[in-house]
Symmetry: C2
Amino acid sequence: MLSSRQGQVLRIISREFITAGVPVSSDVIAHNYDLGVSPATIRNDVAWLEREGYILRPHTSAGAVPSHKGYRHFVETMEVPPELPPWEQHMVSHLFHQVERDTEEWVGLAASLLGRLTRYASLVTLPRAEENLFRHIGLVSLHQFLAMIILVLREARLRQLLLPLEQPTSQEVLDAAAIRLNRACYGMDAVAIGNLAEEMTHPLDQAVSRAVVPMMRRADRQETAELQFYGWGYILDEPELLGNTARETVEALEGWGLPPSLLPTDGLRVIIGEESQEVALHPLSLVIASYGVAPRVKGFIGVVGPTRMRYGRAISAVKYVSEQLSYLLGEIYS
Amino acid sequence: MLSSRQGQVLRIISREFITAGVPVSSDVIAHNYDLGVSPATIRNDVAWLEREGYILRPHTSAGAVPSHKGYRHFVETMEVPPELPPWEQHMVSHLFHQVERDTEEWVGLAASLLGRLTRYASLVTLPRAEENLFRHIGLVSLHQFLAMIILVLREARLRQLLLPLEQPTSQEVLDAAAIRLNRACYGMDAVAIGNLAEEMTHPLDQAVSRAVVPMMRRADRQETAELQFYGWGYILDEPELLGNTARETVEALEGWGLPPSLLPTDGLRVIIGEESQEVALHPLSLVIASYGVAPRVKGFIGVVGPTRMRYGRAISAVKYVSEQLSYLLGEIYS
DNA sequence: ATTAGCACTCTCGGGATTAGACTGCTAATG
DNA sequence: CATTAGCAGTCTAATCCCGAGAGTGCTAAT
């Protein structure tokens, strides 16, 4: 167990290294912070922290750098749950109210805001619905043999698909079909619609509802995986990822599934360095929050930065932005 | 004017430097290519090319590297307009037919294909319509006081917007309004709908059509500017952009307006190094093509790579992919 | 106009050296 | 027993030097 002073020393090392980016020597700790002990005593504590794996040294006679275990302790013992300063909170919610009232728009803005607030890269997934239920269908004739299906799912999510037609079909015929289908399918899930399709007498209705089934399924698949990144520029020349090349890092992140085991079930999660498995991501930390409306729709949003991350800042920003986003979505999906 | 042999030498220097990445010496030129003259003669030619600004030297006693003027000459005098090998053509069109028939899907695939074919980063804009005409509207009730407007423009482009309602409104009422509006507005542009809105007696119809006007206008604005990039990984550790940091390059490109003066009016355009103005982009070249259906809808697609780019390869890939894309869009927008 | 020959320039990599920053250890201290 | 001063020892990083190698530019000959 860490003694009280060892804990202090570890926090000082973390804070100091995060802001300065240089291994922290015992002299610096003793001089800049009033612990009432000499550098030699600090050295003993630091040696103990090293034995226990809280810190590392770049080389034998160098200062201390927090290990992932050290950072972990640092974020766990972080005093008050940090909050974004009020003026930034205002800016954020102001901007959210300025853009179009649209999920994708909001999610995009959230990502770019996180970038600007933290100066790290941000990542988002679009919100995914727990289950996809039919809400509304629109059929638009593009030309005689081609129609566009516009499907609205329960959570106001939109899907579109082009449907080639067997025989020339007018907009009026399509309108009539849409009315029938809206009546028949409202509130159903993919399976129910699939079953219903088989019993339909009208061939157009059948063709459309058969096409609808995969559209509803696809809504799941696509949006789970689709992890998007913004603001590469912010992290690309963090000196710490010079070990890996920029390319390796970008490719590792983009080809990264966002393993479910690492996701926050609810609220916010910090993933530090090696905790993310993937070797190429070891020099990186992530702060990820889930957002959405409780049982119905859910997505993830967060930032990616060096392990030497300003965790307080990142956590407060991710927290506030994800809360805002959830709040706004609540207005639609309620 | 370049003599015939000087032209040859310049082309050899370009080709050689592009493939090998090392400044080209007179010995290499004389030995690997049978010009029937000695290295000393080559040296005279190269000295002349240097005086005229076609080549540069990293330092006084180093081999030759094409300048942007040299590359320009290289692409201008490129023998046959290069074509993608047939098996790659097949792969491309095969993949295009495998994905969803959807504009955004296609454009996204096109970008990722360009990345894979050329191993450079790719850039795209979504297609923008010359003029936006009303085709179809759908109104879906989200709850009593909130409706979703789904607008289909002539080129099968989709827009959505949430509309807060003054008073509780049922789906049936919305359906009726949609039918009226579809009848009234079909084929109109934003201005005409704006005028029409003022004369409408039904307050719901008026509210909706007023909301539709900015949706139609926005279709222009947004899509012109929205330049998207894919596959940063491909170029991030090109050694030539180590002068600038990766961050500078990414930020310069993302914050780059794609100046209209540099866009291809039609067909394909190569922008080499300094021709792009922007200082941070000097070590980069772009190959950009326009795509779309002739007068009605138009977008841009291309690749970004080092000035030391495999221009032949890049041009053939951009050309083929943009043609495919145009062809597919033609099927929808015709 | 072309060429052989040669002196000259510049880069790049590998020691070698040195200054400086820190630690770890030991022995002394309250 | 925790703490401390003092000091030897270790490692980095910067600088310099050196030599090999690559390639040019020039000159004089063909």
